[in-house]
């Protein structure tokens, strides 16, 4: 199908929605406005829950915050609704930042519970505050006026909501396709990818949480001025959970799924109520039983929601931009061949009484491949974790380019020029190859959220993507640049990880068992790639089980057993070493 059509489809949908304004009845317009207001919250939730993997049970409270902020200002002080909007958005952002600072660092269900408690507290607080009208509510909220026009009709309301939703959707999609967005998209797999490539997972989680809260506040502002009456009920936990249900049913990974979910849940609920109330009385809530069942079935059968089934029928959007060849300007100065990149001195790590790494000293130089061998449990992985800053050493010192590294962290190591791959491949499977590689280049760019919003990041994005493309060409995956990483075979995924590590513009590459699980021809390709990188002046530390593979590529070898370095030197020398033969064969050969 036509990729151009795919790209223009969102615009087409917006035009149809715009045209519908004059086709629908007033009642339908009102319902559609509510769907739009709910969808706004859901679009924020997509960024936070679907993409960054954090669940909030308190989104309705942020809606309420926005609604009551503007409601109070416009009734008590007769402020303009536009001032109310500003106040609502800033207020929500501040409170979300405060809550986020405390909780986004912790595992997911803590955030879920804190937001839940926030939501309950908000409900009781508003319900008991005299100035906010207690549980009776706040009345007489003015409608929005724009250039003297009073936007109080259903038609105007529908259009205002549509504009807000379109802008928000556009903004979220823009964030997701930026440097910050790529890091946020990696967070669902955990913090490791972000931290390894110099980005703070904590900060990016916070950004996603705050943006979602701001969307909710915007939704609340619209709600307050369209409804022109507020009471605490629509901002309780119940509604927070319904928002969550909307994105789960619609599909939490895409903004379109969120809009679909908001529409489906709202309409279905209405239909069910009109069906069930005559049968079971006006107070029945049995429609929630149906929703509960739908949610459980969706979670079991289609965890990514219903949108993927529809997306499947639509034309694919194709690549967003063509890659212009541009050179990265501020590349790192490459050290001369033979310069010591990394030096470990008497490196030691204890786990309780166990000495996993025992006074290990070695050096890696620019333009060489150092192979690290050892039987299972020899301490290779611990050593690797020490070098990459995942854990700290008990004793000893690591020097990088002659500078001692007192407190290693993954982020600091990345910034000083060390990049790594993972033993168990860690890629973002629903991102394209080129985007995965671009995550590696995160710390080479500077554009933040504001730049992404106003398209000030385009020049930098062009440079980063072009740089990523060059690396894909270098490793031989350029022809698959726009495919999803999850669709690659394991061998190519490992190569892709190397490309991503190279994107960080490192001087030293740490590879954790890159040949594990590869077929013979894939190993040959990998060996060739590593040799090319070495010839370019890169230093490589290779942890590997496969003796044959290491023998082909490594310039020098080091062998560990029981935490100690038992041999260190040229391959032939190490292979002839008695201690090494004992460690591998169990007897003296």
């Amino acid at each position: 199908m036509n990729p151009v059509l795919g790209r223009w489809l969102p615009f087409l949908a917006l035009c149809v929605a715009f045209g519908m304004a004059w086709v629908l009845s007033d009642y339908q317009r009102a319902v559609a406005s509510y769907i739009g207001i709910f969808a706004l919250v859901c679009v924020g939730l997509v960024l936070m829950t679907g993409v960054a993997g954090m669940v909030s049970f308190g989104q309705a409270a942020f809606v309420g915050l926005g609604a009551y902020a503007t409601g109070y200002l416009t009734t008590a002080y007769q402020c303009s609704p536009w001032f109310g909007l500003l106040f609502a958005l800033v207020g929500a952002a501040v409170i979300a930042t405060l809550i986020g600072l405390m909780t986004v660092r912790m595992s997911g269900h803590y955030l879920a519970l804190v937001t839940l408690c926030f939501c309950i507290s908000f409900y009781f607080l508003v319900g008991n505050l005299e100035v906010l009208g207690r549980f009776n509510g706040l009345t007489g909220i003015p409608s929005i006026t724009l250039f003297g026009y009073d936007l109080r009709s259903e038609l105007a309301g529908y259009l205002v909501v549509l504009v807000a939703l379109a802008l928000s959707t556009w903004w979220v999609r823009r964030i997701l396709n930026s440097r910050v967005g790529r890091v946020i998209r990696s967070l669902r797999t955990g913090s490791l990818i972000a931290e390894t490539f110099g980005a703070s997972a904590y900060q990016h989680r916070l950004v996603a949480f705050v943006v979602a809260a701001v969307f909710s506040a915007l939704s609340g502002w619209l709600y307050a001025h369209l409804q022109r009456f507020l009471n605490p009920t629509p901002f309780g936990v119940q509604m927070s959970l319904e928002y969550l249900f909307m994105i789960v049913i619609g599909g939490s990974a895409s903004v379109w799924g969120a809009i679909l979910g908001a529409g489906l849940v709202t309409l279905l609920k209405q239909e069910l109520q009109s069906l069930l109330q005559p049968l079971f009385g006006a107070t029945t809530r049995l429609e929630m039983l149906v929703f509960a069942a739908v949610i459980v079935v969706v979670l079991i059968k289609a965890r990514r929601g219903l949108w993927p089934f529809i997306a499947h029928l639509l034309p694919p959007a194709g690549p967003h931009q063509t890659i212009v060849a541009e050179t990265l300007t501020d590349r790192r100065q490459k050290p001369n061949r033979g310069v010591v990149l990394l030096a470990a001195d008497q490196l030691t790590r204890n786990f309780g009484g166990l000495v996993a790494v025992d006074r290990v000293s070695f050096e890696v130089r620019a333009g060489e491949i150092l192979g690290l061998l050892g039987p299972n449990g020899a301490g290779k992985s611990t050593l690797f974790n020490l070098l990459t800053g995942v854990i700290g050493q008990t004793d000893g010192q690591i020097r990088l380019l002659g500078k001692p590294q007192p407190c290693v962290s993954s982020r600091a190591m990345c910034r000083s020029g060390v990049a790594r791959t993972f033993q168990h491949v860690k890629l973002v499977s629903d991102m394209t190859l080129i985007e995965n590689v671009a995550i590696g280049a995160t710390h080479l760019g500077h554009a933040g959220l504001t730049a992404a919003t106003f398209r000030l990041d385009r020049a930098e994005e062009r440079r980063l993507l072009s740089w990523s493309m060059q690396l894909l060409e270098q490793v031989g995956l350029a022809n698959k640049a726009w495919e999803l990483a999850g669709s690659l075979p394991l061998g190519h995924q490992r190569i892709l990880e190397i490309a991503r590590a190279l994107a960080a513009d490192p001087v030293l590459l740490l590879l954790d068992e890159p040949a594990a699980g590869l077929r013979a021809n894939e190993k040959a390709e990998l060996a060739e790639l590593l040799c090319r990188l070495r010839d370019d002046g890169l230093g490589v530390l290779l942890v590997e089980h496969d003796m044959e593979f290491v023998s082909i590529v490594a310039d020098r070898l080091m062998v560990m057993n029981f935490g100690k370095l038992i041999a260190y030197g040229a391959p032939a020398e190490v292979r002839a070493n008695r201690a090494v033969q004992e460690a591998y064969l169990g007897v003296a050969a």
Binding site: G53, V55, F57, M102, T103, R105, M106, S107, G108, H109, Y110, A112, L113, V114, L116, C117, F118, I120, S121, F124, L125, N128, L187, R188, T189, G190, S191, L192, V237, L241, L244, F245, V248, F280, T283, T284, R285, L286, E287, M288, L289, F291, A292, A293, I295, V296, L299, I300, R303
Partner: protein
């Protein structure tokens, strides 16, 4: 505040706290075994009290309308999973067919209005206890490998389903049930009701029993192994599905008992379970969802805060409890600076 009032509030707080302890300990138990944050635990508590109230009023217990259909669905799912193999069918047939059937028959025909309170309580316990593993079979077992967040959403969905059914069956009226009979007696110059003593002792015994079961008994350790590494546990012959059902069975029983304990103290409505569960949860969070004694202490603290807050700032009682979680989480986030979770 006089000392007398303080003593009364203390007594109130300890009684409610003791019930939150039971909730907190069960939540920790279920989370460690299945990684589910079992939101509907509070609903089981409410259902238990509502069921006993039905018996006391001489009504047919409405809860059979939840148990019966749910057991039916679970049985059908099991029979489909058995794919016609008879040797795989008899066990689910007993678990989801015969046992719930017998309990329902007992509840419908063997509990006259003038039956002794203890017998009514026993049947109530039976009804509620068998519901929990059925819920696990229907909603959680098919997605047992999912991330904690997905399981949490499913738990919320189950909670919604249960409350909407409970509203339909029991209506919006609140109930109070009878409890431990007897006149209040003097203790350290305070009038103490037998109910208070009964609640505290039962809570102590049950939570101690659960604690010992999971730290000492082999089955308990197997359950924890199932939680720690599902595949590893399967490899050494521990069925994670069975582990989940046992954990839920325990949860059902403790939930039922909690309902009987709280019924005489507080008026319970069809939807009271949610806030109850949350308060237990705040306690469980204090223990990081992992450490039983700390979780229990946290739950007790929740009871006390709630009791004193209801005296000072009555309208903001619940607010005070849920605000407690914020400093607690702040402290926990400082204590565990680099928490790395396994996402999807």
């Amino acid at each position: 505040m006089s000392l007398d009032i303080a003593a009364i509030l203390l007594q109130d707080g300890l009684t409610n706290g003791a019930i939150y302890v039971l909730l907190a300990v069960v939540l920790v138990l279920i989370f460690t075994v299945t990684r589910i944050v079992f939101v509907p635990q509070g609903d089981l508590v409410a259902l238990s009290a509502l069921t006993l109230a039905d018996f006391e009023l001489g009504h047919r217990p409405g809860v059979v309308w939840i148990l019966g259909p749910a057991a039916g669905v679970a049985l059908i799912l099991e029979l489909i999973a058995a794919r016609g193999q008879l040797r795989l069918m008899w066990r689910p047939a007993i678990e989801f067919g015969v046992v719930p059937g017998l309990v329902i028959l007992l509840a419908l025909f063997a509990v006259p209005k003038d039956a002794p309170l203890l017998w009514k309580m026993v049947v109530t316990c039976g009804l509620i206890t068998v519901i929990a593993p059925i819920l696990y079979r229907i909603a959680f077992q098919p997605m047992a490998e999912a991330s904690p967040l997905v399981l949490l959403i499913a738990a919320v969905a189950v909670h919604f389903g249960l409350t909407s059914l409970a509203l339909h069956i029991f209506g919006a009226e609140g109930v109070r049930t009878s409890g431990f009979a007897g006149a209040p007696f003097e203790f350290l110059g305070q009038s103490v009701s037998p109910q208070t003593i009964g609640v505290i002792i039962t809570s102590l015994v049950l939570s101690a029993a659960m604690f010992i079961f999971f730290s000492r008994a082999l089955t308990g350790k197997a359950l924890l192994a199932a939680a720690f590494n599902r595949r590893g546990a399967e490899l050494v012959g521990i069925s994670t599905a069975r582990a989940g059902r046992i954990a839920f069975l325990v949860a059902g029983f403790v939930g039922a008992v909690s309902g009987l304990l709280i019924g005489p103290i507080t008026t319970l409505y069809y939807d009271s379970g949610f806030l109850l569960g949350l308060k237990g949860f705040v306690g469980a969070i204090v223990g990081g969802l992992a450490v039983y004694p700390v979780a229990a202490a946290g739950a007790l603290l929740v009871g006390l805060i709630e009791s004193f807050a209801s005296f000072w700032v009555s309208a903001y009682r619940d607010l005070a409890v849920f605000m407690l979680i914020i400093p607690v989480l702040f402290w926990r986030s400082l204590a565990t600076p680099n928490f790395e979770e396994d996402a999807e």
